[in-house]
Symmetry: C2
Subunit: 187 residues, 2 copies
């Protein structure tokens, strides 16, 4: 069995940014494969790293946000999530800041659950997934200007129901949730 | 607890395609939120639907592909996956075609495991995840021109090791794999 290998495996012949906006950075690359063949147009999307958190209260309730997601035109439950800002010292700090801002919950014990990618073939960024247990309500919500979401606490049975019936669509949230269920033998 | 709700929840004031290429279609939209506030620049990425398959042989071996993923610059194991083509009658047909083309495996019993999204806020497409059991090698690989991947069969223990040690990065593949592990009580 092979290992995950990091490092460039193609020759980048040309790379140019065609979109460079706050919410979309897209560059077009021309690649030479190891066997000499060319891929004349390969699109790479650059994003900052993202974070999300499975946050559980002392009473065993799971903190979820319910919000509208425009590209897919669905309103769904998701984990609290966000973007790693330059001011954050690391991904854990980003996750704690996002949980506090979006939901008002904090404290508790935190650990990294996994680090994944929304799409390794097109996106440059990683998604850092955390588990926070024994979190408490310590503040009020402080949402960004155009954020519009509702915070809800769900029981384990409700979270399992959402997962079983495919009501959470965001793959980068479903992956850590199913991992949490599998490793804690909750199914 | 709320349900997943489908439907537009904002007013699209303006929508224009800024990139329309075979591998990237990006449109810039101007949105009006329900409370009247404006989001002047919201990027939506349009893709065709995708498929992936957890394929298991009669001997209980899992069919994986090992390949280089350029945006993240990693070489990793992934499920067999691909794009829904216009010629395919449905997502199941796409998944069967991709498994046969990429790996030479076919037949077996197929069922839909889940339907998810790589990113509901930015991408319009769905990812249809299938489980195929008792698949058999019935053909040779027929790869697309610039595809470069190796097919390997892994044991359950090897797949669990890859998952536990975070060696698969693709969230849309990790989600169905952990679901499979949780529902079959394999952890």
């Amino acid at each position: 069995m092979r290992k995950l290998e990091k490092g460039l495996k193609v020759k980048v012949l040309k790379s140019e940014y065609l979109v460079k906006r706050p919410w979309l950075t897209a560059k077009k690359e021309s690649l030479e494969l190891p066997d000499g063949r060319n891929v004349p147009e390969y699109w790479v999307l650059e994003y900052p790293d993202w974070v999300n958190t499975i946050a559980v209260t002392k009473d065993g309730l799971f903190i979820f946000v319910y919000q509208y997601r425009h590209a897919l035109q669905v309103s769904e439950y998701e984990l609290c999530s966000g973007v790693c800002e330059k001011e954050d010292t690391d991904a854990l700090a980003s996750a704690k800041r996002e949980l506090l801002e979006e939901t008002g919950y904090g404290n508790g014990q935190w650990r990294k659950l996994m680090t994944i990618s929304a799409n390794p073939s097109t996106q440059t960024n990683m998604v850092h997934c955390f588990l926070a247990t024994d979190v408490e309500k310590i503040s009020t919500q402080h949402l960004d200007e155009t954020e519009n979401l509702t915070v809800e606490t769900l029981t384990l049975e409700q979270v399992k129901e959402l997962l079983k019936t495919d009501q959470i669509k965001q793959a980068t949230h479903i992956a850590p949730l199913w991992r949490y269920m599998a490793e804690n033998k909750l199914f």
